[in-house]
Amino acid sequence: MDSSISSEQLQEGIGEHGHGHEHDAEGNSLFAFIVFLLSESIIFLSFFTGYIVYKTTTIDWLPAGVTGLEIKEPAINTVVLVSSSFVIYIAEQFLERRQLWGFRIFLLATIAMGSYFLVGQAIEWHGLEFGFTSGVFGGMFYLLTGFHGLHVFTGILLQTIMLGRSFYPGNYDNGHFGIMATSLFWHFVDVIWIILFVLLYLWQ
């Protein structure tokens, strides 16, 4: 080794980055997932911008014969979905303490609440008197709720996989990137819905 390098230099070199980065695959994945969600939020932001532009500039905003959206059922749906964010958080806490049964029960509850939301949305879609092609309002409504619904569905799928994995011993022994990412995704889906609820239902 070159003798001109002081041990100080070497210390500085190692000290600044000494956390065994090559083995930190879970940390990398979580970081990457957060980066991905940031990127994903821009798609929603673009759709929101579109909605706001149309809402403020279109003359015949609502399709003929449509007076507005019913707010009561979606409001209940909103409460259920937002609460499920807390439920999955509790599930995570159980996992942290290695109490698998508590984890499973609360994760199952989250899945149930997410499914309730999806079914509620389907019923609402079924009862609406306008369609995807009923002007820009119809298009935006179904685009926004549909794209969000797709995310809810993905979230439920991820949760089901996490639930299934908990029955295989050893899966949650060291770290649990999967459930952290799933939970993060779920909070993301919830926040998006709150904005959607304000835009679509409260701002009429």
Binding site: H17, N28, A32, S39, S46, Y54, F132, V136
Partner: protein, 559 residues
């Protein structure tokens, strides 16, 4: 690393024990080695570059006479649409991703990208995009014809009763290319932020890595807007929504906003890594440290930030209100500040240096000259009155070809020549490289300079025929284009013959400083025997500091 990955790595290590980049078969396999993927990207992109180039030859062939006599107008529309799309989505983006893929992990002292399989998956989507694009020529209505920006309502003119049209395939291809780019961006940002070798602080990263990081951040925050616009356009085209159809209450200007919110910053996605290449090449061939390294590094992030605030300058003539034009004129002009800082830094690096005019340096210098020219016309175009005057004319075409050919493609050539010995373990033939450079440099200027007077005189772009008064400059431009087309031949000959039988390259033929030059040519499977421990800043030309503290371990037995 999972068990299967470990097993895969073992298999690869065993069968390629002497790290043979000369075994061509591995480049046709589903490899997760970032170096193989990098070269797969580069070669695939170059093949599409040739396809896009042939389309350009057809366009310039048509424009050598005022009449539309070579091909019919519909086919001409398809030609310029696909030329633009292919050159952007299948040449510039993938080739730079390929180069970054090859270099970034080695430059930061990592063994591979953070997610090697994601990396491979992102690459294999590129040929799919290409096949979809080319396939659009074979559907009954012909390829997409609405230009690379696909503005509605032109792009919505779907022949009745046809679902699969060229335009439909075009949108699908762009969407897949977007997914591939987002996967790549997540991978790059994670790799650069989380996988650096011990001691490789942010301010010890080569300027190229800084530019890749900045460019990929733009991808992450810009590309989803284009995706949103493409999804809405797809629904308009296929199921009859009316987002962008003004006759049914839609708003086509919204598409322009979503499109340019990404597609303007996209220019920086491809130009920033070229700036990085300049910052790598000028110090080596001038034997001087990069002037103002930290400022050059930070200015990349500033460019990435400002790039998100300037998109409306593409829409001065789209009924944009005056106050908005003013704001975006000023923000656009602001981009020239961090960019100008970089240009001054490069000039200061070259200034008083001991220049070696090898092919990479020639290409980098040529590209820098043409970039300065493009920058000047860019500032002209950012001014609302000038832009309104030359809007949709050949002046704009001339400007962006100086950026995209003069700077990006020439910069890519500089990079390919510079790192060719590292990638292949062989030296290229210098004389062929010099021939290539002069043909390309003269061809580029003959081709794109005449477009400026043409545009100022009012010749519109995207037309197959024109008024005879524009003939002279069009003939010059076409001859330049054919020369430029021919300049590709010595490059291909050089690359193929050098790779097969060129002289064996040492690990550091340019006596350059950087982690990639410490490993053998081509680098071993996981790049480093032992991870390097970095102890000094990059670009220490003329200084005696070593770059790493464990030099012997890194080069291992490979020297």
């Amino acid at each position: 690393m999972t068990d299967s990955q470990v097993k895969n790595t073992n298999i690869i290590t065993e069968s390629y024990q002497d790290l043979s980049a000369r075994d061509w078969r591995r480049y046709f396999s589903f490899s997760t080695d970032h170096k193989v993927i990098g070269i797969q990207y580069l070669v695939t992109a170059f093949i599409f570059f040739l396809v896009g180039g042939i389309f350009a030859m057809v366009i310039r062939g048509e424009l050598i006479t005022p009449e539309a006599d070579l091909i019919d107008r519909t086919f001409y529309n398809g030609m310029f649409t696909m030329h633009g799309t292919i050159m952007l989505f299948l040449w510039t983006f993938p080739s730079l991703v390929g180069l970054s893929n090859y270099l970034v992990p080695i430059m930061i002292g990592a063994k591979d990208m953070a997610f090697p399989r994601l990396n491979a998956a992102a690459f294999w989507m590129v040929p799919v995009v290409g096949v979809l694009m080319i396939a659009s020529f074979f559907v009954p209505s012909g390829s997409a014809q609405a230009g690379w920006w696909s503005y509605p309502p032109v792009s919505l003119q779907n022949p009745t009763g046809q679902l699969i049209t060229g335009q439909f395939l075009w949108i699908l291809a762009v969407a897949i290319s977007g997914v591939s780019s987002i996967m790549g961006a997540v991978n790059f940002v994670t790799t650069i932020v989380k996988m650096r070798a011990p001691g490789m602080t942010f301010f010890r990263m080569p300027a190229f890595v800084w530019t890749v990081l900045s460019a990929q951040i733009i991808q992450l925050f810009g590309l989803p807007a284009l995706t949103a616009g493409a999804v809405m356009l797809l629904f308009d085209l296929t199921v009859g929504t009316s987002f962008f159809d003004p006759s049914k209450g839609g708003n086509p200007i919204l598409f322009q906003h979503l499109f340019w919110f990404y597609s303007h910053p996209a220019v920086y996605v491809i130009i920033l890594p070229i700036f990085g290449i300049f910052s790598e090449i000028f110090p080596v061939y001038s034997r001087k440290p990069l002037f103002g390294y930290k400022v050059v590094a930070i200015s990349s992030l500033i460019i990435a930030g400002v790039s998100g605030l300037v998109w409306v300058h593409h829409m001065y003539a789209s009924g944009t209100p005056g106050w908005m034009r003013m704001i975006f004129m000023l923000s656009t002009m602001c981009v020239s500040v961090p960019t100008g800082i970089k240009v001054f830094a490069w000039v200061a690096t070259i200034w008083g240096g001991k220049l070696r005019l090898n092919t990479p340096m020639l290409f980098a210098l040529g590209a820098l000259i043409m970039f300065i020219f493009a920058g000047v016309t860019g500032i002209m175009l950012s001014a609302v009155p000038v832009d309104i005057h030359v809007n949709n004319t050949y002046f704009v075409v001339g400007h962006f070809h100086y950026v995209l050919y003069g700077t990006v493609t020439m910069g890519m050539y500089a990079a390919i020549y510079h790192w060719f010995p590292k990638m292949t373990g062989r030296m290229y033939y210098e004389s062929w490289g010099q021939v290539h450079f002069w043909l390309a440099f003269i061809g580029t200027n003959l081709n794109f300079l005449p477009m400026h007077p043409l545009g100022l005189q009012g010749m519109l772009r995207r037309v197959a025929s024109y008024d005879p008064e524009y003939t002279f400059w069009n003939v010059v431009a076409s001859l330049g284009a054919f020369l430029l087309g021919m300049s590709t031949l010595p490059f291909i000959v050089n690359m193929v013959s050098s790779w097969i039988q060129g002289p064996i390259a040492p690990s550091n033929p340019w006596r350059a400083i950087g982690l990639e030059w410490l490993v053998s040519s081509p680098p071993p499977i996981e790049n480093f025997e032992d991870l390097p421990v970095v102890i000094s800043e990059p670009y220490g030309y003329g200084k005696s500091d070593p770059l790493v503290s464990n030099l012997e371990g890194i080069i291992g037995h490979s020297e």
